[in-house]
Symmetry: C2
Subunit: 655 residues, 2 copies
């Protein structure tokens, strides 16, 4: 009679000492073995997709059609909801916040348009229509909509490769509108189909690294304006840009006057920011500093006729209302695929930035932001923007913070800002003819330090070294490669990390915690103790699959050899704790089968403890349970060890 | 005093009823919180690489240098070990097996050379040198070395894209040798650096699908020879090949005589195989049938001068010993990178096939095969093969099975086979001038059914539907795309499956199994029961990371809303069972932090049960433990639930 038979008999006719315990064990094992089939993976996938894509069932109240329609409209246009309770006191706060925002937004918009290699008026256009659309559809109260630095850089870096803006500015602008249209369409689709989780595919660490790298790249691009360099590189990486700057300085192709103007106003803006930080009541000082700088420097240049002495000025500046640009969208060109690709990337990055800033401000004020609704709002504002000469807009980090500090109450501050910018477009653009480019460079430069989050990078380093590698890879990828390389690297490493984590072939030897039935890693819990003759091995991997199954099998066999070597062949049962193995594939099942065969040939029995639902189901389907005998499957490690101890004692008794 | 403070006090000054139990709980929680730091991930990675790459420490006996050297040589050349005990009785068996093998090998080698678009003698060369080298270095006793169908197809399909063999056959042949050299080098390197696990990266399901697809593609290629078609497509996909055949048949560019000869001998071979299956003693009948067919058909064609009537014959056939080809290797060409790439793919596929067949036969005879040593042997045989006009050789499925049935004892049967092939090369090649190409096609066709494993595909379907999708993708990828597309698809889906499995955002509500402290999925175990006021949620994902953290947080919050909705706000504690979460990243920790904040705002406490070693470590590093209070971390779900019950009772008492 083999040891296994003995054991099965013992389970059926337990010795008097452990009647209750053995009966409980076998009943639990029966529960495990007879558990209903888990939902098949395809159905599970569909359910998961359905749960993801369909809105969660909200209140179970039955609504009349009329009400339902109204609720739907309210969902799409939140302004219908909060607009009814809007009061004059709120408007006062929003008005002040909106004016503060506009004074920061006008110079930044011109600068970002310059960064996106567009004429300056397009920056202002983008600060008019998208904020108005967002005010109707968005639900964040603090976010400030408009052009932002990272998206401007992304657009110019990626579109310049397709159409050179210095050669064909008209088609470049048309291409930018087409990309903006795709960006908006993708964003709206993501929202409609509730694909908000797509934004999560850029991990937190990757975003910190990417935005930090992008900030430095944007800063480097500003050296052109700051030094007044005429011939600059179209590449964005550190080496090319520094090379171009050194070359220009060496050949005296720059104008020191630009540098003096740019630097003095940069210092002015930084000092106001310092004062604003020290004294919270003076928050408006750093907010209006850029506009003040623009007005001052423009006046100085105009009066001194400095443009005749080498100071580069804006020059082209078309005023007036946003012109219609729907006829400029170009879907027939061979570039439409490229436009869709760039649109997709911009959509994801823009949403990431907007939702990050929106969520963090919403949680400060204690309300919840629905990511999917925000996406629909952002999508519509960009689609309509692309019809009205705007390029891609999103929520800006720096301006949203200013909006928040300025005490905005609702999204009305965005409306005030948009109207102010519109008035500026209608009346004052001629005055901006003499604005020096260096001042735009220094305004952009002054906004960058907020994008480089060293503190968060340090936190990431402390918590997760691999996450830090992702962060650093994104950072250096953007800095030394290009924007796309940085993004691709970050996404690639993020997913490689998931694969590495899931298949990392790792096993742990478990011991019993004193006074309990809990079995734990003996290295993590030094107080845990082994049971002689029984080796409990825990598979510390979420999957037992083709990529790690053979390795884990060999590792366990080596453990058995080590164990038998020390104790002189005393090992009788190997308990395989499968708690953490959430799924197994055919290679994994083959490996466990082979493991069992080899163990039997060495006189060791294999007991399987706590296989998961999917695992037990596949073991049944592959007849593995019949091969090892259902008596060797246990509901928990404790059950398996207790049964093995009984078995060992029985064998000893019979000896 | 908040509920949490109450609870912590309760832990420190437990009520009389649960003095022991509460003390045990808090001690276990302390063990968990004070567990030493896990090895840092980079060190863990290095240990894992070291364990992988370095050989496992064998016996601890101290060896004298002389013995050590001998053991090393024995390890490299196993023939030194078993050769000393080799006896004449064994040789008799090996001799018969070797002759049987040769009679099958000669026609197959010529056919496979034809498939690889090489002159027929190269197939025979490949059956001479590699088997001899393997006999010195390999440790499998049954494997039959030589050219195989899948590798021949791979070579011709991939190299034809670089150099067209019908235009430049000389450079094509040189390129094949260069690829073979790279294949051997990669194989030897994999073996030396113990990278055997690389072979595992093609999952079992992918291999079944890939080889099945490749078999059909090979069969389709044989239609050229079978119909005697002159102009054939160079593509390998089903659509192109069927198109070419239909076109040829339609335009009468084929010769029916070829078809008659090919089909009649194909039927002859299949009948002998059927007889061999029925009567195991006649195993030699199917083995010699191909050679018999070749001799018969060649004689018929020669006597009937059928080559004048449209029957295509071999013609070019250079006899003699393997010529040296080391000077033909071409590392200077622009194609060297391409050669290395194809070499790498061939190395992996060849090793997969050889190790699969070697291992399964070894386990039948009950000995263990060291994958890494086999790789070194295969590597050397291919490198030396590339110096002596051989193309890539590996272990053949069909011939190894014949070798096994013929009763081979050692690898000497390979030596006998090689010498027989060599004699044939020296003496009989002139006789093969008139061999019809159709006969080669029918020999290859007859070997294909063994490669299509419908039974295994059905098993995969039963056990794992997603694995079956991988299998089918590889199959159809090869069939309708190309060999590379099939392989890439299979590898891509395999890894996508790992990602999907690891990040699939899934949560389960747990209940207590009656009479135990075990908590289980309430859907899987219908007998499990809930504890009122406490919701136990299990995160059923190996990773809590950027890709699923937000989703899981929302899912849990929805569960809380559902629970509170039903019980009218009775929920007091949410126990988060993190048993299966093996790792967490910064996004995951943020998500748990946010979850806790939102729960607190709804009056629900968060208890974390059984965080893994890496998880508790990262929670410490990110100060999460300080935020939720160390009293809310438990070593097991049961501890967390029991503590929560105590807390609830305390609160009720104080009311």
């Amino acid at each position: 009679m083999s040891a296994a038979d003995n054991f099965v008999m013992e389970l059926q006719h337990p010795a008097d000492v452990d009647v209750d315990c053995a009966a409980g064990r076998s009943e639990r094992a029966k529960w495990l073995l007879n558990s209903p089939d888990p939902p098949p993976p395809l159905q599970e996938l569909f359910t998961s997709i359905k749960d993801t894509v369909l809105p969660p069932p909200k209140s179970k109240k039955v609504l009349r059609p009329h009400n339902r329609c109204f609720f739907f409209l309210q969902g799409l246009f939140p302004i219908l909801k909060w607009g009814r309770n809007y009061k004059a006191t709120k408007f006062k706060n929003d008005f002040i916040a909106g004016l503060t925002l506009a004074s920061l937004c006008i110079p930044q918009s011109i600068g970002y348009a310059n960064l996106a290699k567009l004429d300056p008026q397009y920056g202002l256009y983008t600060s008019v229509v998208p904020p108005l659309i967002y005010a109707l559809m968005g639900s964040s109260r603090e976010i400030a909509i408009g052009p932002v630095a990272v998206i401007s850089l992304l657009l110019s870096a990626m579109i310049s490769k397709v159409i050179d803006p210095s050669i064909d500015p008209v088609n470049y602008t048309r291409f930018v509108f087409t990309v903006t249209f795709f960006t908006g369409t993708f964003q709206a689709l993501f929202g409609f189909f509730r694909l908000g989780f797509l934004v999560d595919f850029l991990s937190h660490a990757a975003i910190v690294g990417f935005i930090g790298g992008a900030a430095i790249v944007i800063g480097l691009q500003q050296l052109k304006g700051l030094f007044g360099i005429s011939h600059f590189t179209t590449k964005t990486d550190l080496v090319s840009v520094i090379g171009a700057v050194v070359k220009a300085l060496h050949h005296h192709q720059w104008s020191p006057l630009n540098f003096v103007i740019g630097c003095s106003f940069l210092i002015f803006i930084l000092i106001t920011r310092f004062i604003g930080r020290r004294n919270k009541k003076l928050f408006w000082l750093p907010a209006i500093a850029p506009l003040t700088s623009v007005i001052l420097s423009t006046t100085i240049v105009y009066l001194a006729k400095a443009d005749k002495h080498g100071v580069k000025i804006v020059k082209h500046f078309k005023g007036g209302l946003n012109p219609i640009s729907i006829h400029q969208l170009n879907f027939g060109s061979p570039y439409v695929g490229e436009a869709a690709k760039i649109g997709l990337i911009c959509a994801l990055i823009a949403l990431t930035e907007a939702i990050a800033v929106g969520r963090s401000l919403a949680s400060l004020k204690g309300y919840h932001l629905d990511g999917n609704k925000e996406m629909v709002a952002m999508g519509f504002m960009n689609v309509i923007g692309s019809f009205t000469s705007c390029y891609t807009a999103t929520g800006s980090f720096s301006r949203s913070a200013v909006n928040f500090s300025a005490g905005c109450e609702t999204v009305v501050s965005n409306i005030v800002m948009a109207i102010t910018v519109l008035i500026c477009l209608l009346l004052f653009t001629k005055l901006l003819y003499y604005t020096p480019l260096a001042i735009l460079a220094s305004i952009i430069l002054s906004a960058l330090p907020g994008l480089i989050d060293l503190n968060e990078a340090y936190n990431i380093w402390k918590v997760d070294k691999l996450d830090f590698i992702i962060c650093i890879a994104a950072f250096f990828g953007v800095l030394f490669g290009s924007v796309e390389i940085g993004l691709l690297l970050a996404v690639f490493i993020s997913f490689a990390k998931i694969i590495l984590n899931s298949i990392k072939p790792s096993t742990e030897v478990l011991g019993r915690l004193p006074g309990t039935d809990i079995f734990c890693n003996m290295v993590q819990y030094p107080m845990a103790s082994k049971i002689s003759g029984i080796l409990v091995v825990h598979i510390n991997s979420g999957l037992l699959c083709f990529a790690n199954a053979n390795f884990i099998r060999e590792r366990i066999l080596n453990l058995v050899v080590d164990e038998n070597g020390i104790e002189g062949g005393g090992l009788r049962v190997l308990v395989l704790d499968m708690t953490n193995v959430m799924n197994i594939d055919t290679s994994g099942i083959h490996a466990v089968e082979e493991l069992q065969k080899k163990l039997i040939s060495q006189g060791v029995e294999l007991a399987v403890a706590n296989p998961n639902w999917q695992v037990i189901n596949k073991m049944k389907a592959s007849k593995f349970i019949e091969k090892i005998g259902s008596g060797w499957i246990f509901q928990s490690v404790a059950d398996a060890v207790n049964a093995s101890v009984c078995l060992k004692m029985n064998v000893l008794n019979s000896c």
